[in-house]
Symmetry: C2
């Protein structure tokens, strides 16, 4: 069985185990989340679901994603500008690396972080339940594009206009 197939089976069993119904729309969302690279927006999920179920509504996608999030089977990467992303394959805290130009997100390997929550808990008395580590930068492709644009004013304007919040 494929990795995404196993993940899909798990999601289905968790859903049914809690007494939720497996509608075609939900199954489509689960499939997409199980097979994704882990950084989909709701709009992206919606677009892919509609290929199979054109009458699916955006609200249903939101409801399903929220349901999975509450069950701990999807990790929400929330951003204040509304560009939220969802990871249905690794629904536990892990570092992310986000390109501020093209919004691509990857999972970098970062060493020796597992002790940090315990360290913070010990020094502050807080009970740590979650954490998040994001790096923001410019991916190699966007760096190349910027270099190619050179120092002409059009390139500078493009760079100015691509500044985003995070």
């Amino acid at each position: 069985m494929t990795e995404s197939g196993a993940r899909l089976d798990h999601l289905v069993s968790v859903l049914k185990g809690r007494g939720y119904r497996l509608t075609p729309q939900r199954k489509a969302v689960l499939q997409i989340l199980a097979a994704s690279d882990g950084h989909l927006s709701v709009e992206q999920i919606y677009a892919r679901v509609k290929k199979d179920f054109p009458m699916t509504s955006l609200a249903t996608v939101y409801k399903t994603v929220t349901l999975l999030k509450e069950m701990g089977e999807v990790l929400e990467l929330g951003f204040s500008d509304g560009g939220n992303r969802y990871d249905g394959r690794k629904p536990y805290p892990h570092p992310h690396l986000i390109c501020i130009r093209c919004r691509k997100i990857i999972d970098p390997e970062v060493t020796a972080l597992s002790h940090l929550p315990q360290e913070v808990a010990s020094s502050t008395g807080y009970r740590i339940v979650n954490h998040r580590l994001d790096f923001f930068g410019i991916c190699p492709e966007c760096q190349a594009a910027e270099n190619q644009a050179g120092n002409n004013s059009a390139g500078q304007a493009a760079r100015r206009n691509s500044i985003r919040r995070w």
Copy 2:
């Protein structure tokens, strides 16, 4: 001179140095940011500004905070549920510890993190320009409150209802 006084002078000089006018409303926002604990919401800033300038509008507070953010003099802690906070004293990346019950935010001491951006840059080819590390947990006060509430159903309902997104 006090620390917040020095910080205020710095903010004023940066603003004027870039040709921006120092209006009473802006000065009030700068004072509050310079004197704050570093984790104010826009609404909190607005409420404090209005004590001195009751006719100040929320839009002006937003504009001033955005201006300072673009100048790199305020750190925005954006959250996807809209509860954004602003730090006018330490406008550079540093870890935060957020209570998911009362929303209190403190700056924990976390060791040996400065090498991480370089490590990620080396292994991925990204040019890292920013990063963010947040810990989410329950502060000692809220832990005590939950223990006092005990295992009665009212306490459990209170805990259920206080779950927030992050």
